[in-house]
Symmetry: C2
Subunit: 219 residues, 2 copies
């Protein structure tokens, strides 16, 4: 019916978002026919979107049985954080090598905003700023392949939700902010090696926080 920029792309975005937001709980069965009716298209664009989501690891298609929303195991979460650490570390390294560019300015502004959010205790606002901070690092690295792999990785876990939960821990906001400041200082100081490992340490720190309360509501 309504297209936009192609039915497949529309279904893909909306369905992925619905899964990440927990609208389809892990283990839930996703029937192509039902989705086709829900999205007002035929099964064809649904199938194409589902296969993309399968390659992203969000759903699992069992031939002739059904497709199910996947729940990342604790082990997979560990693996994802290990990859996130080296990818974002590479981003920080490359950005430091580039010197002062537009993204470094934006990162400075991001940190200023973050300080205000932390001072006000606004965890929701800070979560968004954290998301932007990491995105700016990757974007500033100016490596399209890295950005693509990073996006693919971030799609795999409901990362925003994890961060929001993490930031509820007392004192986490302040520690996180200090780590961000440390990373950016080394980037503007053109200390590529230092920036990379500051970023890695930060990711590992965030991983410890995220995986300590893995018995959350939705799990």
């Amino acid at each position: 019916m309504q297209a936009g920029r192609g039915a497949k792309a529309r279904v893909l975005d909306q369905l992925r978002d619905a899964i990440i937001r927990g609208e389809h709980r892990p283990g839930t069965s996703l029937s192509e026919g039902a989705l086709a009716e829900a999205y007002g298209t035929s099964r064809t664009p649904i199938r194409e979107a589902i296969q993309q989501l399968q390659s992203e690891g969000l759903v699992e298609v069992v031939p002739r049985v059904g497709t199910f929303v996947r729940q990342p195991s604790r082990r997979e979460l560990t693996e994802l954080f290990q990859l996130k650490a080296v990818l974002e570390g590479l981003g920080a390294q490359l950005l430091a090598q580039r010197g002062l560019v537009a993204e470094t300015e934006l990162l400075q502004a991001n940190l200023a905003d973050s300080e205000r959010a932390v001072a006000a205790g606004d965890a929701e606002r800070y979560a968004q700023l954290v998301h932007d901070f990491h995105g700016l690092i990757i974007q500033g690295a100016d490596n399209h392949m890295l950005a693509a792999q990073y996006d693919n990785l971030m799609h795999k876990l409901a990362y925003h939700r994890i961060v929001v939960n993490t930031l509820r821990h007392p004192g986490r906001l302040e520690v996180s902010l200090a780590e961000h400041r440390n990373v950016l200082d080394r980037i503007v100081g053109k200390d590529a090696f230092g920036a990379e490992f500051a970023m890695r340490d930060h990711v590992q720190s965030s991983q410890r926080e995220a995986m300590s309360n893995r018995s959350d509501a939705e799990n």
Copy 2:
């Protein structure tokens, strides 16, 4: 017609292989109809395989115009090697942390074979051993996500051809072998940090060699 484990999977593997082997030259148009006839199926499995290849970056689909084999630019090649360095670095780091496992034994055997191949000047054989060496590092890291991302990365470039060409450079075999030896020594020495950076150095060294003669026959 003949299925195997699904027409889509069969088409995907064969078509990807054909592209990587240069059977379809970059810029070539891939018509769904023609491929359907060639592979003896309908357009549906062809379309599914093509979309997968598009997400892997091997082809580009222009809506209502055609799908074309993509040619990685020099910049993309640089980006790919940067990613390869950190991913394989992570693999070496994780393998070093694991201590002695089956893969370390296989790597030792691989190096012994490599020494014989280098002594005999058998570049073709050594190229295969190089491929196995890097694969064993990733496999031994015991991180499924890393392995998946790595495979995805390696699909994007005709990596084996590049290595074969690289190994034609005089003295390259010996240098490469010494670097492999260095990496494995640090892995068995449980020097995770050293292993990671030895691996990175090796990849960068290989990148320099690969990108110095980029005016090869097929480009």
